[in-house]
Amino acid sequence: MSALLEVKGLRVDIPLEAGILHAVRGVDIVVERGKTLALVGESGCGKSLSVLSVMDLLPQKAKWRADKIFFDGKNLNDADTSPMANIRGSKIAMIFQEPMTSLNPCYTIGNQLEEALLTHKQVSRKDARDRAVFLLEKVGITAAASRLRQYPHQLSGGLRQRVMIAMGLMCGPPLLIADEPTTALDVTIQAQILALLAAIQKEFDMGMILITHDLGVVARIADHVNIMYCGQVVESGSAIDLFNNPLHPYTQGLLRCIPIPGKTAPGAHLGSIPGMVPTPIGQQVGCVFQNRCEYVHDPCRSSIVEATRISDGREYNCLLTPEVCRTNMSKGLPK
């Protein structure tokens, strides 16, 4: 069976005064049915814009195009028919980073939940309400029926994010996109919400795209990982393989930045990646990571660096051979 979502060669350009900002430069996203894909990368690398393009929710001035977008066997690249209108919300739901401002302050929780279902399905108000109560209980909200009459300002951030999750589930979508769903919440709540998302994803057998900075979360939840850097996916693979066997120097750098229980000695220095992300405005010649890479050599500055495919779903964008990459990782940083 084909993948639930398959995006090839996604590009997003934003015209600015200083030039064209190539925010996403040829990204591939594949989500299998019932599996979780994590998009990882530092701030500004184009994670949000990538998923917003899939939803066709980009800000007005940003323009996207892709070589191919298939969702659930349907071609979404067909601009004339605008098929997104029926898919958004009913087949693909999205949860955002800002739970405090993502609900309309003027309407009750119940109204906003029911509306998500009533727009897409011919059901009675009563059925919509029952479904809302059922899902609020599912996402761990107590006294669900009375919450329906409450307004967003009466709920805490964590509760509002739970409401957002319940709202996403109203139509029973096969794909849920969560864009940094916990960044704005405090640490204990973060863990609860992530555990909830993972449990919900299993129970409803949904595909999920989880955007996060947190590699620990990725290791626990994700089946597949895309590491993004400066508008590109620089490495992708199954979570297990990618963590055990990182190939791209950027991925290796990221993994050196996090402590590993049992391996990293207490008090030991964690790694960091020196340098800054290059400006995404204008075209870039050569490898996107060249100015921060420990292993940079001349061809990196001039060649077109394309994805090297190792096996199905396992790719990395680097001129070094997999063997050299593996040795680099085991040797540690060059002095």
């Binding site: 929710l57 958004r88 955002f96 609900l103 302050p105 003027c106 727009t119 300002h153």
Partner: protein, 305 residues
Amino acid sequence: MLIYIGKRIVMALMVSVVVSFISFMILNLSGDPAIALAGADASPEEIQVIRVQYGLDRPVIVQYIEWIGRALQGNLGVSPYFNMPVKDLIGARIGVTLILGTCAFAFAILLAIPLGVVAAIRPNTWIDRTALTISVFGQALPNFFFGLLMIIFFGVILQWLPISGDDTWKHFIMPAVALGYYASPSLMRLTRTGMLEVLGSDYIRTARAKGLKTFSILFKHALRNAIIPVVSLGFVQFGYMLGGAFIIEYVFAINGIGFLAVQSIQRADLPVVQVIVLLLSVIYVSMTLVADIINAFLDPRIRAN
């Protein structure tokens, strides 16, 4: 909600009392009412007699308390010029002013809000620029001047509409348009900026992500939030249209409160002027109150505090 409304009403009453007191003081300071009553060529003795007769020799505060006390019982005094109770003078004219103000308000709202919404949906397009042009004209033309232009064009040249008086509904068209058009630019600008801001907000992105229809996104989710400051401003302007239509009523010879106010000021008919000023302050304060109550219905956060 009821507590909120109750608090607002108490505040509104207090503001009315303060405003009416201040205006009473100012009117008393601006000229000697006894001279006005006695006439310009009266002797000092005659003026003194009048002063005592009308109780004008006592402290202003005493006069105010007496006056407001009578006003609350429905006795608004007598106009020396008309030799008629002020209550009857006002009663005969308030209907006309209410009709004019309401029509002007409706015109302003119907012009400003759709234009503001359209301009916000298509910012920096010809629609937006047209809306801007219309509003700049509205702001730049004083309303009496716009009224005169309309009189010349529709009244004198085309002869479509009557140019003065208040006998038929046709008489109200031009003054209502002149008054409403002048008020609409600020309402339109406020609607536009409000809509632009709200349309960029996170909850509108959520609404779009839910796959809602454009209509529902614009009117259910965006406009309800964007309209809140417009309601506040709109009702202040409504108050202005009800009470401040002095010049327009004068230009179109509409026999309303504004016309009466202008005439009474010219005649130094102090009891009438005093009641009109009190009436205006009550109108303004109650319009603000109405706006607050409507906004509390629109936004649950307002009724929460």
